[in-house]
């Protein structure tokens, strides 16, 4: 049984990601059952070996999943995926850390044991390929997409959902839906991530380069799976238009929006100037 972990941002600015995912998976015969009681995963996996405290939040979510009888936990946000997956891998390989965490959370009725599998939406879609083909009513004909993975679906290697240096799944999916995926050399580049809070210039520079290249290569839109990448490549790109003459933003979509369009459930807004 698969439980669904939306994460904070899919409940707010990225609600379209959550909504289209539910619609699309329902169409494919999978009802997304949201965990009844989840908390923030922490967004970033702690890399410090002596910092067990920051593993509590992701592991607590895994307890919630286990409690409700789920064997798999589905994520869509690349950051939630990475954080939950890495915390899970950590407690699976380090029984000492696991028992420390369980001891600390002694008020929980269920002890965590590493038994829940953290998966990303792409992995579920891979299994539903035949159904996807059946459901395409409104193919993405004539549209060119630049596939953009960013960092956390692909790195580090131990949690990569595809080849970290040469991922293919997004292109494959776009083509399954009747669209064209361009060969995009910046598909795995970083958007500047959380520096959008304290070092915006870095994000502006990354956004400038990524969006410009996508445009130069003839893409009509970017397609991705991370709400933070989305914010940087879309909202920040729009701000950047005022600052750098000649720069134009490009529409940015979650992969579930492409599926929803292809299934005839909603329409992609491709108008470039003045779109929201």
């Amino acid at each position: 049984m698969i439980g669904y972990y939306p994460g904070c941002t899919l409940k707010t600015v990225a609600s379209i990601f959550d909504r289209t995912a539910r619609e699309v998976f329902r169409e494919l015969g999978v009802e997304l059952r949201e965990l009844k009681n989840w908390n923030c995963c922490g967004t970033v996996y702690s890399l410090a070996s002596d910092d067990v405290m920051h593993q509590l939040a992701p592991v607590r979510n895994l307890i919630r999943a286990k409690e409700e009888g789920y064997t798999e936990l589905l994520t869509l946000c690349a950051m939630c995926y990475n954080t939950l997956k890495r915390a899970n891998e950590l407690v699976r390989r380090d029984p000492e850390v696991l028992s420390k965490i369980n001891d600390f959370m002694y008020l929980e009725e269920v002890k965590y044991d590493g038994s829940v599998e953290v998966i990303h939406g792409f992995e579920l879609l891979r299994e539903l390929e035949d159904k996807i083909k059946e459901k395409v009513k409104n193919p993405l004909k004539g549209l060119k997409f630049a596939p953009y993975y960013g960092c956390l679906l692909l790195r580090p290697r131990e949690v990569a959902i595809d080849d970290p240096e040469d991922p293919q799944y997004l292109s494959y999916l776009v083509e399954l839906l009747g669209g064209e995926a361009i060969d995009f050399p910046y598909a795995t580049e970083c958007c500047g991530s959380y520096h959008t809070v304290g070092a915006k210039e870095l994000v502006y520079q990354r956004t400038y380069e990524i969006v410009n290249l996508a445009r130069e290569l003839g893409a009509d839109a970017l397609v991705l799976s991370c709400p933070l990448c989305h914010f940087n490549l879309d909202a920040r790109a729009k701000e950047l238009e005022a600052e750098r003459s000649g720069f134009e933003h490009i529409p940015v979509f979650y992969f579930t929006e492409l599926l929803a369009h292809a299934f005839g459930l909603s329409e992609l807004q491709l108008k470039q100037k003045g779109t929201q």
Partner: protein, 133 residues
């Protein structure tokens, strides 16, 4: 004349702490520069990631702490997946940040941020987790 270079003496306590937190032996780096070549933060950094490694293995951690490199690092893991010596450089950057944060030296000052900060939850939680103590 016989000269014995002992890296354990060169490194000093702070470098050893960084190695402990990150689980990386900094001496394994052979200075190929691949990490710096692909680093998205490099144009904004005082020191390149490979230079940080060089300074750590020669015990000049003060130069590292003076730089902004570990703060600019966005934990993108590009260096980590590309290092031919399998060094988790993103983990080294985190360890250096931890050294600073544990002394309450923050990179992002919450009280200095604009009152209406235009950024989604995911950005704020991650920035505060990474860059504030």
């Amino acid at each position: 004349m016989y000269v014995k270079i002992d890296h354990t003496k060169v490194k000093g306590d702070l470098v050893r702490k960084i190695e402990e937190i990150s689980g990386v032996d900094v001496n394994r780096c052979y200075q190929c520069g691949k990490c710096s070549a692909g680093c998205p933060g490099a144009p904004f950094m005082d020191l390149l990631p490979s230079q940080v490694m060089h300074l750590l293995m020669t015990g000049r951690v003060d130069r590292v702490l003076e730089s902004n490199t570990h703060w600019i690092c966005a934990s993108c893991f590009t260096c980590t997946v590309r290092c031919p010596k399998d060094i988790d450089l993103a983990g080294v950057m985190e360890a250096i940040r931890q050294i600073e944060l544990r002394e309450r030296k923050d990179f992002v000052r919450v009280d200095k941020l604009p009152e209406r900060l235009n950024a989604p939850t995911i950005a704020m939680v991650s920035a505060f987790r990474k860059l504030t103590s």
